[in-house]
């Protein structure tokens, strides 16, 4: 990190800057959406303004000139808006969105070190100018109009001013020592102390410039009893012989210039006055990038004396140019001069800094390494625990209490480490209003997006992977689900449709729902298409829910004409696959005429899960505890065998299909009879309950998830793998997939003891 500081001392902060930019942009997008929906407060405008402002400030620091230029103008527009000079009508909001896009792109360009085309963003700039010109014909618009073009112009007066004063100081001043002689009369006013300026520091600074002779005038000092401790009573006269020029002298007084009476004269060696200047204004000096306050009453006077009145208007712009020239100067000069200050920096910037900082930014890589290491620690710990368990150490030994504590601590540690990676889903949700806005506009539909549970936290990886599927599903709802205003009115609905996007934690997983109040899935059409495309066979009888879920079948699309919105060559099948890769499930529930609801459930983290270790035909498997409801050994009477050889068990009056785990995996042996083995009642994503038939339970353990797909290949019925305490690899069962897998039924196990209607009932599930 440090070597990067070679050329630019601030280079190392670029990473922070871009991270900050993406956060600011995300917030901004949200705020813009609020603005558009009309549900905004003044603070919304301020927040948008601040975001652009911060981006500009940072961009300036890193010399991203295009970004500075654009954000400067954007900021100006926003300022007009937040101060009420402009109103956020539709057109303006459109411009804001457009500018937002350009701003995002420019940030991207800067980040990638690319240079956008010359005229990039010009359209948006023109729009902004239009607004500024339309509303404010005066200086404001003019100054915002051509920030870039102004840069060279501005640097000219600065340089010429320098040159002029240089010349003025030097030519008549060729005294024998080559030193210039200034006489400075300095009388602070009370305001100077009120602004916490300290004359002693000024005197010290003057002394640093050269040789001084100081006279202090204490004549105004009153008697002690009437003295106001905070008033100003002293004045000074300094004679300064220095090799420095007038600018440096002026600079000493920069902060106090308007809080004091100051006269600086240049004397020749015969003490004749060569140049007099009373209270020089700021702009006559070097363009310093900092300064003192010009009091209101003196503002006009100061400006008039230093700049021609005509330039007063341009003043704002001129000072704005501090940004560019200054930064350039810095990058050139920083190497030799900056080096003086640099060496101390790395050491001092170390830990112990910023005791009040409420958050720190850490590389995701580091967190990942930490998560990994903790995962390994968990494995080692459980291995150790097992060793101790199997050893001859007496149970009273302190080793056992130690192991207990270790396990508690490791668990806590793991939870804490995991929580580092957790982030609210807000970062993804906040992108959706924009999509809804754009898409609904294109489709001519009126849509209101309602988001709930934005603060629900989930692993960062999950969040990142969530954006695409969510976007697609929202698009889908907009495109296929919601009707046009006319259609809605006809159906007796309100003109404006709604999409509800919500997130909540449920049973150790995050559940995200996208529900619209549109027309629902057209089952006839779906079924027809599915048959046509051979997704289902002609004679298949499907439940309504099964038909609805056909939209996730590969290559399925019901749009009569492919719009440029949903028809991007990506179907819902891709969505489902993406979600499944994350260990999640997606399902759809639809009510014709009333709406469609997509439900997404995802694990909170991709790194660990609480597992129940079970044995099936001598093999060990892990069943995620989050899906286990209870474990039963049903009495023989409660077991019903179906015609096809499968079983159901009756639990409190409900029939639960049994998944004969051993048979599903085609293992030899393993318990086949639910009344002799154990039935784990597990809930699938769709809320269905199935019973997994296993031989026995062998304990509960938190396991670190290792992807089977990356290490081996995907296996149906298996979600992933893990390593147990004893070092053996163990597979984690995929309850949902198992529930759907056909058991390999040995012939001749048919049982006549069945009820036809029950079979029908189970099948319907």
């Amino acid at each position: 990190m440090l070597p990067a500081a070679h050329d630019d001392p601030f280079a190392q902060f670029k990473v922070t800057f871009f991270e900050e930019c993406s956060e600011l942009l995300a917030d901004m997008e949200q705020h813009l959406a609020d603005l558009e929906s009309g549900s905004y407060e003044n603070e919304t405008l301020h927040a948008i303004f601040r975001a652009v402002h911060s981006i500009k400030a940072g961009a300036g620091a890193f010399s991203f000139s295009r970004l500075v230029t654009f954000s400067h103008k954007f900021e100006y527009l926003l300022d007009e808006l937040r101060t009420g000079k402009l109103t956020a009508d539709d057109g303006l909001v459109e411009t804001l969105f457009r500018s937002f896009d350009i701003l995002s792109d420019l940030v991207g360009f800067a980040q990638n070190g690319e240079a956008p085309d010359e005229d990039y963003g010009q359209g948006a700039l023109d729009q902004i100018s239009g607004y500024l010109n339309g509303e404010t014909v005066t200086a404001a618009a003019a100054s915002a109009d051509e920030p870039e073009a102004n840069i060279p112009e501005a640097s000219i007066p600065v340089e010429s001013a320098e040159a002029a004063s240089e010349a003025a100081g030097q030519s008549p001043d060729a005294d024998k020592n080559g030193l210039k002689h200034f006489r400075i009369e300095f009388t602070p006013r009370e305001a100077m102390y009120r602004h916490a300026n300290e004359p002693l520091l000024i005197i010290r600074e003057l002394k640093d410039l050269g040789k001084t002779e100081t006279t202090i005038d204490t004549s105004r000092l009153p008697a002690l009893h009437i003295m106001e401790p905070e008033d100003a009573y002293f004045s000074w006269v300094f004679d300064l012989w220095t090799e420095y020029g007038r600018d440096e002298v002026d600079e000493v007084f920069e902060f106090v210039i308007d809080d004091c009476d100051l006269t600086i004269v240049t004397l020749d060696d015969n003490n004749n006055v060569v140049e007099v200047d009373v209270s020089p204004g700021l702009d006559s000096g070097e363009d310093s990038g900092f300064g003192f306050f010009v009091s209101d009453d003196k503002l006009s006077a100061g400006e008039v004396s230093d700049a021609p009145p005509a330039e007063a208007v341009a003043e704002k712009t001129a000072s704005g140019l501090v940004v560019e020239p200054d930064v350039k100067k810095a990058s050139v000069s920083a190497t030799p001069e900056g080096a003086v200050q640099k060496p101390a920096a790395p050491a001092a910037a170390g830990p112990g800094a910023a005791p009040k900082a409420s958050s720190i930014r850490v590389d995701v890589d580091r967190v990942d390494r930490l998560v990994n290491m903790v995962g390994e620690l968990v494995i080692t710990q459980s291995m150790l625990a097992q060793e101790v368990e199997n050893s001859t150490i007496p149970p009273t030994d302190r080793v056992f209490t130690g192991m207990d504590e270790l396990s508690t601590h490791i668990r806590d540690l793991q939870e804490d480490v995991m929580s580092i990676r957790m982030q609210p889903v807000k970062s993804v949700f906040s992108r959706m209003p924009r999509i809804v806005r754009d898409v609904s506009k294109k489709l001519g539909k009126k849509v209101k997006l309602i988001t709930e549970g934005e603060s629900t936290e989930v692993d960062k990886t999950v969040i990142e992977e969530l954006a695409d599927p969510l976007t697609h599903m929202i698009r889908n709802s907009l495109d296929h689900g919601l009707e046009t205003p006319a259609e809605r009115l006809e159906a007796g609905k309100t003109e404006e449709g709604s999409i509800r996007l919500s997130a909540e934690h449920r049973g150790g997983r995050i559940v995200i729902e996208i529900a619209d109040d549109g027309r629902g899935i057209n089952r006839e059409k779906v079924l027809h298409l599915a048959r046509e495309k051979g997704v289902v066979s002609e004679d298949a009888t499907l439940s309504n829910n099964e038909i609805d879920n056909l939209i996730f079948a590969p290559g399925f699309s019901t749009a009569d004409e492919v719009t440029d919105l949903s028809g991007r060559g990506v179907g819902m099948d891709v969505v489902r696959r993406n979600i499944q890769t994350l260990g999640g499930r997606v399902s759809v529930h639809s009510q014709p005429g009333a709406g469609t609801r997509f439900q997404l459930t995802l694990p909170l983290t991709l790194a660990v899960l609480d597992g129940m270790i079970v044995s099936v035909a001598g093999e060990k498997f892990v069943v995620p505890i989050s899906s286990i409801l209870e474990t039963v050994r049903p009495p023989e009477d409660d077991v019903e065998r179906m015609v096809d050889g499968s079983c159901v068990v009756r639990i409190r009056g409900e029939y639960i299909p049994v998944v004969p785990t051993a048979r599903v995996f085609n293992f030899a042996g393993g318990e086949q009879d639910p009344s002799k083995g154990l039935v784990i009642l597990a809930e699938t994503e769709g809320g269905r309950v199935v019973g997994l038939l296993v031989d026995e339970l062998s304990g509960q353990q938190q396991v670190v998830i290792k992807s089977l797909e990356t290490n081996y290949k995907a296996v149906q019925g298996i979600a992933s793998a893990t390593i147990l305490g004893n070092g053996s690899v163990c597979l984690i069962l995929d309850v949902d997939a198992l529930a759907k897998m056909p058991a390999l039924i040995p012939a001749g196990t048919m049982n006549s003891n069945i009820h036809k209607n029950m079979a029908a009932q189970v099948a319907a599930e």
Partner: protein
């Protein structure tokens, strides 16, 4: 122990840059991300200089200066406001509130140090 400076800015980038520069010059730096947090961080903490951004949520720099100036502990503490060139009126407000001076963003390290040394050498 060197002098202590509090840097207040809602932008992490700016906070980092200010504190990096100042620490490099041997200053002890406290940071806060808005006026409210700055005030609470300053409870029981003495500083020799406060550098604050103007545009911040919750409590902006101007209000912060006003609050600090009304606290006897900070009446004589130099306060610099960090501002961009477009904030002329803010500079005036800053002055009225009692700030000591301003620094224009973006700044280069030398400049910042120069100004800081100027008000708290």
């Amino acid at each position: 122990m060197g002098k202590r400076i509090m840097a207040v800015d809602d932008s992490k980038t700016m906070r980092d840059m200010v504190s990096f520069t100042l620490k490099g010059a041997g200053y002890d730096v406290l940071v806060a991300d808005d006026g409210v947090n700055a005030l609470s961080a300053l409870v029981g903490e003495d500083v020799d200089l406060i550098i604050t951004d103007v545009n911040m949520p919750n409590m902006n720099g101007i209000e912060l200066v006003q609050k600090l100036r009304s606290d006897p502990r900070f009446r004589a503490t130099p306060i610099l406001i960090l501002t961009t060139e477009s904030d002329d009126s803010l500079k005036q407000q800053g002055r009225a509130a009692g700030a000591t001076g301003w620094i224009v963003k973006p700044f280069v390290p030398e400049k910042l140090l120069k100004v800081v040394n100027k008000v708290c050498a």
